[in-house]
Amino acid sequence: MVVARDVEHMCSEDGQKFILNDVAEHSLNRVVVASCSPLFHEKTFMKTMEKANLNPYLFDMANIREHCSWCHTSKQQATKKAEDLVRMAIAKCALHEPLQRKRMPIGKRVLVIGGGIAGIQASLDLGDSGFEVYLVEKEASIGGKMAMLSKTFPTEDCATCIIGPKLADVAEHPNIHLYTYSEVESVSGYLGNFHVRVRRKPRYVDLNKCTACGDCAKECPVEMPNEFNLGLSKRKAIHIYNDIAVPHKYLITKIGTPPCRASCPIHVNVQGYIQLIKKGKFEEALALVRETNPFPGITGRICTHPCESACTRENVDEPLAIDLLKRFVYDYAEKQEKKWELNPPPFNGKKVAIVGSGPAGLMAAFNLRMLGYEVTVFERMPEIGGMLRYGIPTYRLPREVLDKELNVLHEIGVQFITGFEVIGKEGISQLLQDFHAVFLAVGTWHSRKMGIPGEDLPGVTGALEFLREANLGKITQVQGKAAVIGGGNAAIDAARTLLRLGAQEVEIIYRRTRNEMPANPEEIEEAIMEGIKLRFLEAPTQIEKDEVGLLLTLQKMELKEPDSSGRRRPVPVPGSEVKEVFQFVVMAVGQELESENRFDLKMEDGRISADPLTLETSMPGVFAGGDAVLGPATFIEALAHGKKAAISIDRFLNFEDMRIGRELEGPFPSQVQVETAGVEKSPRARPKLDLPKSLVSHFAEVNPGLPQEAVKGEAERCLNCGGCSECGECVRACEPKAINFGELERVEELEADTIIVATGFDLFDPSLKPVYQYGSSSSILTALELERIIATGSSGPPLRAIGNKVAFIQCVGSRDEQIGRENCSRICCMYATKLAQLLKRLDPSREIYIFYTDLRAYGKGFEEYYKRAQKSGIRYIRGRVAEIQRDPQSGALILTAEDTLTKGIISAEFDTVVLSAGLVPSPDSDKISEMLKLAKSPDGFLQEAHPKFRPVDTLVDGVFIAGCAQGPKDIPDTVAQASAAASRAIRLMNKGYYEIEPISAFLHQELCDGCGICLSSCPVGAIVRERGTIKINEALCKGCGICLAHCPKEALDLHYYTNAEMKAQIEEALKGKKPDEIRVLVFADSICTYRLADNLGTSRISYPVETRIIRVPSGARVTPSLLLQAFSSGADGIFIGECDRRASPYPGSNQAIEENVRIVQEILKEEGAEAERLKYAELLTSLLTDFFKNVAALVKYVKREVPQISPEVRERIKERAQNLWERVQGARG
């Protein structure tokens, strides 16, 4: 070293002159500057070197500011450390060789995230400059918050008028590719090389075909809150975002499958047909039902309607009468004598046999025939219908309706063979010879027996047998008193049939209570209305013959804990028997499959075992469903099985997988949540039941259904939980046929060179400040709501009424520690002044008060605008409103505040209160910051790289921020930042390349023996063998240093961080250590850790002075050899910090470091030093404290928790460094 000089402000022109002079005067060939962080001024000094005609890489810096004077408290110790740092730099620099910079190509593609005014301005600047822009906006139109404003301060320009032309420019710009209704899913990579995945949400409207004529919205029956008007008005499910939307196209909002449709086992589009009924489109409604359910007439009369149980309307008053509405449209069409026109496809040559013509079999038959199969249904009874005809009585399901519905099957060509029973294994084998597949839907026709004595006596029958005989016309009269044992639908059906056959008295005897009765509640009610007596907590124990009939012994029961069905178990009460005489007894205590193993198939609990997903049985080609598989179940579940079997058989016969994509068959829980508060109650429509009269007409239908006058009103009660109801009205109305319900979400991949984040802000939600009672009155508004009210004021009735006496409350959600928002939101004083003036102009008689804390009118023309407001009579009161009180009767709003300028207390009534809510970071900013690893300021907005000099840069190279994403600001400042960000991006991309440091790997050819072990070590494949020699491709090499640890001869080295330079630095770092001191070396990667250490210094956070930070490009450069050398030369602890792998430009570096650390930790342990002395962590630039915690913990550990490493151990470690290679090879396996 020839010259040492102490200069203040080394980086200034003056300071640099010293370098130039000294180099010239003393013929220096190396320069070391001890001052601030190289990340700050390395470039400056390297330029100085060039001016002095020296290669810039013959230079180094000792960071004695951020890494020393700014972060240590003891002046003495810090000075000592500074000396070390200077010596380290000198020792390293002495070995530097001249190097040339590397150029990386960079293209002209920019990703702009956010389509508000910031994103728009940046995109236009970039597009005009010849760059490709991908503008991604999450809403259906660009424009952001500015498009929502009425007028802008201080000029009172109409916001939509001035932004309109910009929107049009974006739309037409050849270089701007607009991705609206899209969100950025993920970003990986780095400057010049960003890989972006964009999720495009489905609009269900083809942008190329839509002409925005609006015919669709006119027909749409579904109203939803208008988001652009902040919910103050309504729009249709199919809508255009606003009047100036770009792209000017419609879109449909689908929220999800509503609970009605989700709970329906066959997923009929319930919401859809109810909306059509609401519009009076009964034929279309029926057609919509028939898309899924070919038997609406039957369903509307007997279904157990799980849709009604799931209906959200129940949270308001009562569920919709969905079943009756469905029945209505069927009956209506029948009255009009409208026929269902079906076009069954020609036969495809494959044949399917179905055994059983109940609902499951009929549904399967219909679906399979409509898929082209030739279907034959075998039924053992004389007529088809199964339970529909031989179980359910005609007063519930008239035979005309049944026959009419089933006729459809005949019309489409389904074959029925009645009076034919398929028996046993042979029966099925026979079928499989003539048919390609078989579906068994035989039902459960055997009444279970109780097993009590006397059950076989004449006069005692099972419910199913009784109903079958009655429906066949074989029983026409019953006399006397009848008992029905049981509580299900079969029991009720039997009881009401007995009544109609002439029984004088009918009693239903059930062993539990009414709450546990499984029968339909409507059926139970009708039974009671017809005069049937219900007896609870009684069960028969035996039946005996008596002269006048049957003597039943009945025992009382009481309910204990629940059994396997979940219902409380009835337990007999001893000694409580009574005897009673009945003339007729029907046992309705359950149903089961007719005889065990009827077809020799695998059974489960007495039912045919079938795969719940596919309905396959134990025999290939044979499927089963309905009651035969489920046990006695419901009609709609049987239909669901019929549908499922048809899908399975179709796939089976086409050799397709039967299992994939079928999870949503059958009922599933709906994910949709609907707000029901504030919905006005209205009663459910009810049919007029006239029971005693209808009894007179015996088996005629009891329930007349809903009258036509009632159906529209009932349909209007629907809350449209699913958003768009898929009713199809828009499809029918759209001439260009632009609507496509089947559109799917898709992901597009983009490549970008730079990124601009312009994700804007959200308005503070005032419900977080309950003292202001936001939401409790329609007279308390946010400023943004008032913007919408004023903006829409000229085009129709006001969205809300604004009274005569108006108060503005400033600083709502800003400058408030109590809710954790300390920042001032900057624009509220001015926007309140503007809104006040607009209101005053609309009605000069208004009295307007603005309650402020400080009035911030800092910008151009702001003070003058404020003065104008005062001139117009708007009163400004300096006092922060403490609370709003609301008179519960009159609804009047009373504000209490101190007028701090006169120290008086104001308590005044207002008609309207406007909350000047502050600006908060949008949740999208949060999401994007995580994705891009951007730091956040304490107020939650995105952090700029330097608060003074780099206001639109971030610490991630190539990523810029603009607008309110960075912090609250008005439109001119936003536009300025947007143009600034664009210019910063252009600056990086304009030359077509950017330069990076020539920090790349190189080979000491004389040491290399060509073993080739290094070839596989490079994650980017930059090491190749050419004609026998190992070569490094500098274009690919990233300069991470991973390969260095893979060379047994230490022939691989890294420019500017050579092995010799590193060793010299390490030695120098440890030389000055006193015997009782400890030293912790920190190897900090340039991208992240070194920067974090700088930030700690800038923030003046103190950490232990025993640390010595050594800069490396990547932590992977720290080979096991260097680590062992460091420990043997006196290091007590070593920490390696590396960039988090998701943000790292060095693929594979993290794993490489982990491997190196593992190897050395084992050696340390073996030699008697603690493995914990060597630590490694992945860090993010946004997490300052992580670095600090790691380093402080390590220092504490080596200082206090373990004894010093003895010289013997250090000697052993040194020896291990010599034989390192075998160890390394062994560890790598």
Binding site: R815, E817, T853, A897
Partner: protein, 140 residues
């Protein structure tokens, strides 16, 4: 004459005033200088109607070091309900400052409080908060 129109105050910003502010800050643990005079405390105070100066005025006088604030009845009317403290946007605790002023007043006169010596008349007219403040400091 209207009570508002008394003499114009001459405010001195000298070392003695700063001493008083400091004393109150030490006793209360609050950095009174942070008060930005927004008036939230006054607007929230349920007892403000009975006071002679508003809570924010009390804070202002402490800020400017005006010892005359000790003559005010305001901090004796204070019910210590803490509404001001939970709403203060600067995170200051005016209730604690009021307590500090009470303590300063009490310490000037009282060495020890013997409850048995308080007459019924006194107990009726004493502000309740005075008893609380005195008991807090002087018993045990």
């Amino acid at each position: 004459m209207n009570e508002r129109f008394l003499r114009i105050k001459r405010i001195v910003l000298g070392p003695r005033n700063r001493e008083f502010s400091k004393k109150v800050e030490e006793l209360s643990g609050e950095t009174v200088n942070l008060c930005e005079q927004c008036g939230t405390c006054s607007g929230s105070c349920p007892m403000v109607g009975e006071m002679d100066i508003t809570p924010s005025f009390m804070m202002r006088m402490v800020q400017l070091g005006e010892e005359e604030v000790l003559e005010s009845k305001t901090f004796w009317i204070c019910a210590s309900c803490y509404t001001c403290s939970v709403r203060c946007p600067r995170g200051i605790d005016p209730a604690k400052v009021a307590e500090a002023l009470r303590q300063i007043k009490l310490r000037a006169a009282l060495d020890f409080l013997d409850i048995s010596k308080i007459t019924e008349e006194e107990a009726k007219t004493l502000p309740q908060i005075a008893l609380v403040a005195a008991l807090r400091k002087f018993t045990g």
